[in-house]
Symmetry: D2
Subunit: 261 residues, 4 copies
């Protein structure tokens, strides 16, 4: 069975901005999904902000292996309930790939626990992405670097937690650098942030970018069953202790009582 | 100038439970603050849930170098506004030491971005804490292990992000293990989680536990100025680029415009 | 094509000690290889100390995807040349799984850069391995813990570098704990250390241990081409710079000259 | 008592190359030691390759808190015995700061366990070092970046283990990036690699570089007693087990016997 990827897109600028629409006539989400679907191991569909539940019902998420997230103009419009739903699924093992301006999306900030802020400049300048972790699954098939001739600049400090591994670092013509590809694990879920993707440039039509996205979906996919137990804080009764112990000392809780949350 | 530590305590069980009151007649917060104040480098005060703003006004936090957090029975009573205030100060450089049942406190969950769940058993069993990172500042003055004869058991999986470093791992008589001391950096702030401290046992009167707490305050303290810029995502105008670049391509934003959040 | 695993064994105690021989009549290496070969994705063969080049010629290593290493009595007998050969292949992408007393093997110490020391006791005591990273590929199919009724104790501090991820922590009946499963990446190679496996107990016949070993081989396998460029420190001539620059200032090196090593 | 820093220098180019001599008339080691000694908390002395034991006797190292290492032309001339001595002291708690071309020095490669290779170009191009971890002790007093107008380029991949934390990332005019400041802990010792410092440019006279070096010495210093036990792998006899256990099963070792190494 292929990996079930869902490409989520805010899908606002495609409807309100002629430039963006001309580059992505069917929306960024469909451009990305099309690129993913060239990989037989992936079956990508899409979801957008305007759908009920933003297209991310409990049911849909339960059947999602990897979620990709693109948002920019209206992060605040995403309901907190859906954000929490996404976070819970990540902890259970759903992969999450956060794209470009999604650094400020609610699900990403929720899972990082930091501001996720950065410097930026929209000048169509040259970005060169260096592979600093060659043979990482996400860098498969890439040369030691690749170039995007026109991109928005993002500059450090990027206020995220120290990653598990850094895969890409970007060089910008205007003088900045940026950790453009980083991985984290949160619960059973693999998270990847990938920097490029400003909507006024044809970044998601770039062959190297598409390679990274396909690799990332394969990397983020956790084939094991959902770790639904991660939400519990079970009491282990004394009589079920793995080693024989006797209850001693004073107690707050009665047997079988739930803990405080 | 000494390190300004604030020991925050929910302070509920001390008022409602005779056992807890008999062990900590002036409250867990005062027992801990007294232990910290034996170190000339530390000046510890206290704050509790029942105070206005839970004792953590903007002003107070601005003058706090390291915050210690003990809560258990009513995490939900802590206002979201104060939680956000604490998180922001941590990102700016305030140290945070989370104690025992504080694993489920709102500020800790906010900063970790994970469930922070675990197994537990209240049986007064023996806990042996092993120093797995000797000569870490937090383990200063300790032997290779120390024992708490009566403690609540916490068992893995403890669903937190992979730490920067692990300092302690606990062995429990009933057969479980637990990563009892872990460090993270979030923004400019150092975070330490320390497991022991169930309120029905005299844990905070233990000399080794007190040593760990004093060490942890010294370790968590960041003497540099608050990193208030961490909340910003500044635009860098083309004409101020560090390397001369020309604006190219299409744009969404006007010069000087704030980014979307 | 299946993953080509090679199980390396010192193979001394099997020939000199009746107990060990009775448990592993064909040697620990064959017991492990047999367990691996029940996985269709793996094709395991063996190599031993006594063979020419210890069975690890350049050619053999070039055709090895994952190497497993068991040694105990005579680490010093392994030639430094073979150690260097193994290290180089790991950097190029060969997986390495180090077993039990292999913590003191030359290849492991070479790749860790630390003493890799620990406490130990040979008393056939109970070991309980806790999965602290559920849904990690190496823990696939395991419950939240498993028990080995008779094992040698290894206790912390285990002086290795902070790992990429910790998968298992062991509880011992005698009161110690140990990080029993840890991962590292060195160059393009994935490394896993797995604690159990004392030769006087039937550990490698244990079904959970065998599951871990099969999982670990699948995890450690890097399907990408060998990163042979990792040994080079190439000079990038000014005229081939990616951005046009002019040579300035004073120089030590002539164009095309190799760097100092 | 101040931190006892020793600045080690190969000290070859200062004697053989007019350019280098003109920039560092008393040697790179003295330039650095002078810069360190402006900090009252540091007492810096020097050692060079040509001295007996390269100036690093057992006695000298025992009295060294932090060692700085600059070498380039003749790494191979450093005796393996001294390398091992340095590594052992790092594991015991001595700080180590490796400078520029020291990436290929024997002690650094010994402690990293990887090739430590990189790309390079000697063209006097502009390097801009970005602080990606503001408020890290090593970045104290710096702005968000600083520039070295003429430096040798080092480019990724830099084949070192994933660091504890990354402090600096460099941008180069010719189009490359490099992780210019990284930290690791090995045993009880703190290690910092700092990229700049090509001998034909006046890098060590730069005020920002000097600030980093002073900060790094203060950061790397471990005030606790030497962890000499890190070299041992002690047997814990059954009768001294912390929890009462009975010896069971078969044994290889006699009581009190040393383990195999």
């Amino acid at each position: 069975m292929p990996i079930r990827a869902v490409v989520w897109n805010e899908n606002i600028h495609e409807q309100t901005n002629d430039i963006v629409r001309s580059i992505y006539p069917t929306g960024i989400h469909n451009a990305i999904a099309d690129a993913l679907n060239t990989d037989d191991a992936i079956e990508a569909t899409t979801a957008t902000l305007e759908e009920p539940d933003h297209g991310l019902t409990e049911d849909r998420l339960r059947q999602t292996d990897v979620l990709l997230w693109w948002g920019h103009k209206d992060h605040g419009a995403v309901s907190d309930e859906v954000v929490e739903r996404v976070a819970r699924r990540v902890w259970e093992g759903m992969g999450l790939i956060v794209l470009h301006s999604g650094h400020f999306s609610k699900p990403f900030k929720r899972l990082m626990g930091t501001p996720c802020a950065l410097k930026w400049r929209e000048a169509g300048e040259r970005e060169r992405l260096w592979v600093i972790n060659p043979r990482h699954e996400i860098a498969k098939g890439l040369d030691d670097h690749f170039v995007l001739e026109h991109e928005e600049m993002y500059g450090e400090q990027f206020s995220v937690p120290e990653p598990l591994e850094t895969v890409f670092i970007s060089w910008f013509a205007g003088g900045e650098v940026f950790r453009s590809g980083m991985t984290w694990r949160r619960g059973a879920g693999n998270i990847f942030y990938f920097r490029p993707g400003h909507e006024t440039y044809p970044t998601y039509h770039d062959v190297n970018v598409q390679t990274v996205l396909r690799n990332a979906v394969n990397w983020a996919y956790n084939p094991q069953a959902a770790l639904t137990a991660i939400h519990d804080a079970p009491n282990v009764p004394v009589e079920q202790a793995l080693e024989p112990i006797e209850e001693r000392g004073e107690k707050l809780h009665q047997a079988g009582e739930a803990g405080y949350k």
